[in-house]
Symmetry: C2
């Protein structure tokens, strides 16, 4: 594990924390300001800001400041990374399991 932190690393690390997933759940319903995001989460506003930082760096969330209020919204593209990683693994093991199934189904090949 060298110092290289890839995007996959950042995304899965971001998704690994329950508070951050709670933030993503709330943001799924639509854009929300930082303080409204913090209200139901039993942590301080400062903690939420820190979580938002890692969510934004991972590409799962985009935020924009207008006046004194920062609006946060889901960045759908960010989730592709996670889905793609899982999908890649799946395609590998499914291909393997298919071959195994063939072997079990037709134990002889030329009769």
């Amino acid at each position: 594990m060298p110092g290289q932190t890839s995007n996959v690393d950042r995304v899965f690390h971001a998704l690994g924390d329950p508070t951050r997933r709670a933030i993503l759940e709330k943001l799924s319903a639509g854009p929300v300001s930082v303080s409204r995001l913090a209200e139901p989460l039993d942590v301080t506003l400062a903690a939420v800001v820190q979580h938002l930082q890692v969510l934004e760096e991972s590409g799962l969330v985009h935020t924009e400041k207008l006046g004194r209020v920062r609006t946060c919204r889901i960045e759908p593209a960010g989730f592709w990374v996670a889905e793609q990683w899982i999908g890649e693994r799946r395609s590998i093991w499914e291909r393997r399991l298919d071959r195994l199934g063939e072997l079990l189904a037709e134990p002889e090949e030329g009769a």
Copy 2:
């Protein structure tokens, strides 16, 4: 964040560590013993065993011991949990973005 650790929590926490993802990547190619899993990973065997414990508790991996060798394999069903969580969020925000699209496409409704 009460003491309740759900399955979603366990799965995303398990996926959050790069070493554990490396283990899953290797296991995608087929079942492997613990020591062969540890070989390329620059951590000790003991560390790998610990990672396998969290992977197994999360349902992403299943292991079975025969004689003195424990064989580890991917548990495809475990990944559903992660994909489903992401999928649920996606369905929520996509529905929302669709409604937004409709509003922008047809700004008037009766005329």
